[in-house]
């Protein structure tokens, strides 16, 4: 004891004395490399505009692509300084450039070394991300048009792609000649080609006692990309920053880091910081009022750094745009890999996301339960704890669908095992939950305990399935279990083997109601450089870890989801939550924003983080409600529940050092309000599920920035405190303590209805609203119809047969429309057309239900007896004569009813009482 005390004192002294520790934050800045400490980033950032001297030669069409060589312009020109001389030598070999065009206005640019020139190694191209269906959409180019030194190819009816030869530049422009996007317009392109190490050359990089041998030397790539006629650029998660990306370089931007894309396990991350977090998606969108939206995606899994350049960054450069178009320049740097980039022309925001997700895949349709509320804590300690928490939810009449178990449920952090002292009967425990329609999720991380009695370790060792260190031995790093090795999921054979581990026979104690959580898959390695794996570790196919680092977690997620599909022979949709992500992750499951903190600012930043994930294809995401680290004040917790109820992925979670914070622990009033927040989510489940289906079909995210729905309303471009849920609901979070008022900008020309009071607010105006602790402001947009289920049950399972409520918000022309998608909520039968998809249209005083689903064959038809019990008419005058239901020709009463079934006075609005129509049927209801 005493000894510890002394040490503690000693540490205190260090803390007080050490000058560099004056920061109030616990984020270990020094632990992670900044750009200056990252040689490739530093080299790239110091390049001057127009220093690229490559020109495109031998431009021709071959195999349906436009192909060219990139060669230095004046190889003989050696008047530059020595560095350039050296570079000249390095770059003497030609690079191969190819441009391909795909349907829907997508241009793909590839630049790599010429394999015929025998490079030391084939550079890594990320496999398993691009959808096979996408490749089939390639448009075979037949010829290239040469217009005054420009090689022009057709992109689609309105856009064309241009390859300028000298200087080399790739440009996407409209038929009107206006540029949309371009690459290397500022001549920052650089491609460090692989070469043989020279005598005495030192390629090693050292960081905090770690040595990266870098056996292949410098191999980075960098280039500039410009977006034209845009007000802001967005995307490139994951960073805890604003939605609209702030400039990182240029006049008035002091000392800022580029946005880093490098999957890292950052302890207590900060808001408003460009450092890299758990996942990486090198996809950026630009949006402006006049031109619309465009997107640029670089498929590359190595560390990437991206600068957003502020106007005037290249003041020295004499380049001006001929058209006088406004633009935002960005600068992209990657440590390794090839150029495999995609340009998406839009022009609408949803078009760009559709185009992007046609390349990387759309969000998997989650099971219905996964879209409901999840209850998690590190850790629910034992079966009794689980049973207690479960029954407390019922006792307090708070619905939830999934109870989670963190790492402590295992036997010594050996995944797929149970601590049998704490969880002697895991099957029974799961069955008890399942009896109430509830699921359980257990955690399975990629670090495997190096313990010879552990079957996974034994097998993986014997089969050689681990990632190797630079010497070719099984890499040994430190994580939860202590000494651990990491499964090499890049190999499809190994993924398949891993998938088998989820079969009920192999995962002893698992049942069909058990789903999986993949954490620490950046991968997190406590004693590795930057808390991750050494870059010179080796994967299957002799791929260096540096080349695929950002995709490691993606492969792990993919393998796990594959296992869950396999265990039920493809009849049950998987649910796997992952912390690390990469383009394509959306196909395998949900992600969350990692280990956040119980602070107001972290609640605030969770919204742009989730919005950004949606913009980049990951529709199913959320932040830990309440904040993982620290103890939220009850008010913060409540506000978090109120916002979290609209996250696509809605889970409460907490660190094991924190106080218990299950919803009923903060007094009766708070319990009531948290219950109401969760109820709102359950009430809106039909709407959410319909949105998830939309994301599954078109890539359009569930929660959206306002500008996605109002692309020409500039007032929305910088907003990230308010957001849209689908196209019908606008939510404004409350992010400060004791807020009495909040300003909300309601875009568009139509009015908005307060979802609790029914009060109408004018669109296109900023409203200053009084707020109470009861709820955060949420509005239904006039002209929409929202399907709800208003009966409150214990979990989504019990709501299956409950009747619907339709809330119709009439616009100024007394019209509205909305959709409802319903299927069995769990299987893949929807892929065979077994679902209901209706469009509800209200016009001329008549509500019509129209079928949107293709005629399904008898066998795969989805059947439900669900009816509509209530139709609420917002913005409709009282109709005392009732309504007539066709074709049954029955009358239904129209009376004043509550907007929401909740205690306390709620305003009465015209309501069609028990129209008795089934959602599967075609019908009309005419207001008399």
């Amino acid at each position: 004891m005493k000894y510890t005390h002394n040490l503690y004192l000693y540490l205190l002294v260090i803390l007080l004395v050490a000058p560099h520790l004056t920061t109030v934050f616990s984020w270990k800045k020094d632990e992670f490399r900044n750009c200056n400490q990252t040689p490739f980033c530093k080299r790239a950032r110091s390049r001057k505009p127009m220093s690229c001297n490559l020109i495109a030669t031998h431009v021709e069409v071959s195999d349906g692509d436009l192909k060219a060589f990139l060669v230095p312009k004046n190889q003989e020109n050696q008047e530059e300084d020595q560095e350039n001389q050296e570079k000249g030598e390095i770059h003497s070999k030609a690079l191969i450039l190819s441009l391909s065009v795909y349907s829907d206005g997508i241009l793909r640019l590839k630049i790599d070394e010429d394999p015929s020139l025998d490079p030391p190694k084939k550079r890594f191209e990320v496999p398993d991300v691009i959808e096979s269906g996408f490749l089939e959409k390639k448009l075979w180019l037949e010829s290239v048009e040469n217009k005054g030194g420009l090689n022009v190819v057709y992109l689609n009816g309105e856009y064309e792609a241009v390859l300028r030869s000298d200087p080399f530049e790739v440009l996407v422009r409209g038929k009107d000649g206006k540029s949309v996007m371009s690459l290397n317009s500022h001549g920052l392109f650089d491609f460090e080609q692989l070469r043989v190490k020279k005598e005495g050359e030192d390629w090693e990089e050292r960081w905090k006692g770690h040595t990266d041998r870098r056996p292949y030397g410098p191999q980075s790539i960098s280039f500039d990309v410009s977006f034209y006629d845009v007000s802001f650029v967005y995307g490139i998660p994951e960073h805890a920053t604003s939605l609209a990306l702030k400039p990182t370089r240029g006049p008035g931007v002091d000392d800022s880091e580029p946005y880093r894309l490098f999957n890292l396990d950052v302890f207590e991350y900060l808001h408003e910081s460009p450092f890299g977090l758990y996942g990486s998606i090198p996809f950026m969108l630009g949006h402006g009022k006049s031109r619309g939206t465009s997107g640029f995606f670089w498929l590359n899994a190595a560390e990437m750094q991206i600068d957003v350049l502020k106007d005037g960054w290249d003041a020295e450069s004499s380049i001006t745009l001929p058209s006088g178009q406004s633009r935002i320049d960005t600068f992209w740097m990657s440590e390794a890999g090839v150029v495999d980039a995609f340009f998406f022309v839009g022009p609408g925001p949803k078009d760009v996301i559709r185009q992007y997700t046609s390349v990387t895949g759309t969000s998997a349709l989650p099971q219905l339960f996964a879209t409901a509320y999840h209850q998690c804590r590190w850790n629910y300690r034992d079966e009794e704890d689980v049973q207690n928490v479960d029954s407390k939810f019922d006792e307090h009449d708070i619905p939830y669908d999934v109870l989670w178990l963190d790492i402590e449920h295992t036997d010594g952090k050996k995944y797929f095992t149970w601590d049998r002292a704490l969880f002697p009967n895991p099957e029974d425990m799961q069955k008890k939950l399942a009896a109430k329609g509830r699921k359980m999720v257990t955690i399975v991380d990629p670090h495997i305990k190096r313990d010879n009695s552990y079957h996974i370790h034994k097998e993986a060792t014997e089969k050689g399935y681990y990632v190797k260190d630079a010497n070719g031995n099984d890499y040994d790093g430190w994580c939860w279990p202590g000494s651990s090795s990491y499964i090499d999921m890049v190999n499809p054979e190994i993924r398949s083997w891993w998938g088998e581990k989820f079969s009920y026979q192999e995962y002893v104690g698992s049942t069909p109601s058990l789903y999986i959580w993949n954490d620490m898959n950046e991968p997190s390695v406590f004693n590795g450089p930057e808390i991750s794996m050494p870059r010179d570790a080796l994967h299957y196919g002799n791929v260096e870890h540096r080349e695929l680092h950002n995709a490691y977690g993606y492969y792990f997620h993919m393998a796990t989801a594959g296992g869950l599909v396999k265990r039920e022979s493809g009849n049950d949709r998987p649910f796997v939550l992952s912390r690390a992500f990469f383009p394509g992750t959306q196909k395998y499951g949900a992600v969350w924003t990692g280990d956040n903190t119980a602070e107001w600012e972290q609640l605030r930043v969770s919204v742009p983080m989730v919005l950004t994930l949606g913009l980049t294809g990951l529709a199913f995401s959320g932040a830990d409600v309440g904040g993982f680290f620290g103890n939220p004040e009850p008010e913060l917790l409540l506000r978090w529940y109120q916002v979290g109820a609209y996250y696509p992925f809605f889970r409460g979670h907490a660190h094991h050092d924190t106080k218990r914070r299950e919803p009923w622990l903060f007094g009766e009033r708070k319990t009531e309000l948290i219950r109401e927040a969760i109820h709102i989510r359950y009430m809106l489940l039909p709407y959410f599920y319909t949105l998830f289906r939309e994301a599954n079909v078109s890539g359009t995210p569930v929660v959206r920035p306002l500008w996605m729905e109002f692309p020409s309303d500039e007032g929305t471009f910088g907003t990230d405190e308010a957001f849209m849920v689908g196209n019908s609901i606008l939510v404004q979070g409350i992010y400060t303590e004791g807020a009495k008022q909040v300003s909300v900008y309601l875009p568009g020309e139509q009015s908005w209805y307060d979802m609790r009071t029914g009060t109408a607010y004018t669109g296109g105006v900023t409203h200053k609203l009084d707020v109470s602790e009861e709820a955060i402001p949420a509005f239904q947009r006039a002209g929409t119809i929202i399907p709800r289920k208003d009966r409150f049950r214990r979990s989504s399972k019990q709501m299956e047969n409950d009747p619907y409520t339709l809330v119709i918000a009439l616009n100024s022309s007394r019209e509205a429309e909305g959709e409802l998608y319903v299927d069995d909520g769990k299987s893949f039968a929807f892929q065979q057309g077994s679902y209901i998809h209706r469009r509800f249209v209200f016009s001329n005083g008549k509500l019509t239900s129209i079928n949107l689903a293709p005629a399904a064959t008898g066998k795969s038809q989805f059947v439900t007896d669900c009816t509509v019990e209530r139709i609420i008419l917002l913005g409709h005058s009282p109709a005392h004569k009732g309504a007539l239901v066709e074709p049954s020709n029955q009358k239904a009463d129209v009376e004043d009813g509550p907007l929401m079934l909740r205690p306390g006075r709620t305003p009465a609005v015209p309501t069609i009482r028990k129209p008795g129509v089934r959602i599967t049927d075609d019908w009309t209801i005419r207001i008399l």
Partner: protein, 622 residues
């Protein structure tokens, strides 16, 4: 559509319902023939069965037609008045009769949700799921448990009464003692004052005498000098001079000696010792509490000053580590970084890097066992719930308790300093004690004639001795007064029923830990020689159903430790089920007859009576 929901059609369309369920319906319909009273509780029957064809929503918001009652559409959203028997209103309540068991009121969201909630199955009538009637079996078990509980309570109530009697006596005794002590204090104070005055007078007299002597000496010297001057030869004879100077010293030594030499050393010793203990104890009781809480404040402040840097100590360590990672083994580095999330002390870990793994395992193991052996944190509140589960959980614990197997729990009365003093003082507290002293003092005061010089040395010594002795006694009494005052200040419950728990400690051994709960004092977790304070006594909560100990030792990366002790009726004082549901927030159960309330017994008996009454006829043969 509405018409279709009428009662008769309703029933006939669900012909598959159990006969038993039909019986209920018929039973109800008999009560009021024309309306559907499904899910209505007996207390509410009259509300619905008036002659009017209109019913009001209970909150008064709306009037509805009786045909809208249980028509599966919510017309009274605020309270669900119109839909007790369907799931249409989120705030509705469904009553199931559960003949053979106790009736239960459910959230009406449980109606027709595919889960059997009522043991009579009446909540699931849409035919999607068949719910067997399990009321008889469940009811029998519940009744048995209830009977057992009633037995405990009846005995407990008696014990509690005794306890209260004893508490009253003890409290009266303490109060009487306090009064007496205060009285004694007053007298003693007076005596001490007198003695002090006298002592001062003696000292003055002595001083006077000394000065006089000095003067005499000087006079003598002068005379002698004169003499010497006169008779130079006699200068060899200087001894008296030295003698005299020495005399002063001797006197002062004598002075010192008076107490030490003449008093019986053991007594003095005891007094001194006693006093030091008193002081110690004082500081224990008051100052330390204050200073320690102050200390803790400082600690907390320090900690919170540091807290923002949180990751922090580990981080600073990490810094060191990452700055010279070479000096750390890979394993150490891994542990240090991992410790940020786990909150385990990195310093400890790096210091004990080798053994840490084992420790961790060990710790984990222990925890597992703990968790296995102990019931979880929430099931044991004795709040009355309508669900059986709670009932069961409650009884479950009781059973466990009755088994009283392991973990071992014990209680003992701790030897407080108060108690030792109590005996000390009470031994003297025969009535003559004070009188004797008073006499003695009077005698002394009379005997010592200080106006007479030279002062009688033995008399002066007597005064001093008596003064010291009485002063010691006084402070002892004062300390006793203060600790008694401290004690009686506590809230011992409305009937002082917790009085006897003062000064008691309850112990429970759990693996390597011993949990020690001392009501009104503190709670600790002891492991070998180490002791962690889980908290100091804070207060009762929840009308004496909970004891709170707070401001315990600081937790690494967590709150200050605290302990919540839930009280439940049991036949002896016993601590069980220590648990740590949240990090460093402990909970325990304390069984004690003190909370075996008569009202509760009555309630349980009523409940049993009701259950017996509700028992369906003829079921006994089954």
């Amino acid at each position: 559509m509405q018409k279709k929901m009428k009662n008769s059609c309703f029933i006939s369309s669900f012909f598959f319902l159990s006969v038993f369920y039909l019986l209920i319906l018929i039973d109800r319909s008999a009560a009021s023939s024309s309306i559907n009273l499904l899910g209505v509780s007996p207390q509410d029957l009259s509300y619905y069965s008036g002659s009017s064809s209109v019913i009001k929503c209970k909150d008064g918001s709306k009037k509805i037609n009786k045909s809208q009652l249980n028509d599966d559409f919510c017309d009274c959203p605020a309270d669900g008045t119109d839909e007790p028997g369907t799931s249409a209103c989120p705030n509705g309540k469904f009553y199931c009769k559960n003949a053979g068991h106790i009736p239960v009121t459910l959230y009406s969201s449980r109606v027709n949700d595919g889960i059997c909630d009522c043991c009579d199955g009446s909540d699931e009538y849409d035919g999607k799921v068949m719910c067997p009637n399990t009321c008889w079996e469940a009811g029998k078990m519940a009744r048995d448990r209830l009977k057992k509980k009633i037995t405990t309570y009846s005995e407990g109530v008696t014990l509690r009464r005794k306890e209260i009697e004893q508490s009253k006596l003890a409290a009266e005794k303490d109060a009487a003692e306090l009064t007496k002590l205060k009285n004694e204090e007053k007298i003693l104070k007076g005596l001490v004052q007198q003695l002090q005055d006298r002592k001062e007078q003696i000292e003055k007299a002595e001083e006077k005498e000394r000065l006089q002597k000095e003067n005499e000496r000087l006079q003598k010297e002068k005379e002698e000098k004169e003499k010497k001057d006169l008779e130079d030869k006699e200068s060899d004879n200087n001894a008296p001079d030295t003698g005299n100077t020495g005399g002063v010293t001797t006197e002062s030594t004598d002075d010192d000696h008076i107490g030490l030499v003449e008093d019986s050393p053991p007594l003095e010793d005891v007094t001194v010792h006693g006093k030091s203990v008193d002081e110690h104890q004082h500081s224990d009781d008051n100052e330390e509490a204050r200073s320690s809480s102050e200390g803790e404040h400082t600690a907390t402040e320090e900690a919170s000053a540091v807290a923002p840097e949180a990751g922090i100590d580990t981080a600073s360590k990490g810094d060191d580590a990452s700055d010279n990672t070479e000096s750390l083994s890979k394993e150490e580095l891994g542990r240090i970084v991992g410790s940020r999330w786990t909150g385990k002390k990195s310093d400890q870990e790096s210091a004990e890097a080798d053994s840490a793994a084992d420790d961790e395992d060990h710790e984990e193991q222990t925890k597992n066992i703990e968790d296995e052996e102990y019931n979880s944190y929430e099931s044991e509140t004795e709040d009355e719930h309508s669900t059986y589960d709670d009932e069961e959980a409650d009884d479950h614990v009781e059973d466990l308790e009755e088994d009283a197997s392991e973990p071992t729990s014990s209680s003992y009365k701790y030897e407080t300093d108060d108690d030792s003093e109590l005996t000390d003082i009470s031994s003297r507290s025969n009535p003559s004690w004070l009188e004797k002293i008073q006499n003695t003092v009077r005698n002394i005061l009379q005997a010592v004639n200080l106006f007479q010089t030279p002062v009688d040395k033995s008399e002066a010594a007597r005064v001093r001795k008596e003064y010291d002795e009485l002063n010691a006694k006084l402070s002892k009494i004062q300390s006793r007064i203060s600790s008694l005052t401290q004690k009686v200040k506590h809230d011992f419950g409305s009937e002082k029923e917790f009085y006897s728990l003062y000064g008691q400690c309850l112990e429970m051994k759990e693996n390597k830990y011993v949990y020690k709960v001392c009501p009104f004092k503190q709670a600790t977790q002891e492991e070998g020689h180490g002791s962690t304070r889980l908290g100091s006594w804070d207060k009762f909560e929840d009308s004496y159903r909970i004891m709170r100990f707070s401001n315990g030792d600081k937790c690494w990366n967590g709150p200050d430790r605290s302990l919540t002790v839930r009280l439940r009726c049991g036949l002896k004082n016993e601590i069980t089920d220590v648990d740590e549901p949240s990090r460093c927030e402990y909970e325990a159960l304390l069984s004690t007859p003190v909370v075996c309330l008569e009202e509760k017994l009555k309630e349980l008996q009523d409940k049993l009576a009701l259950m017996n009454k509700e028992q369906p006829q003829g079921h006994d043969e089954l």
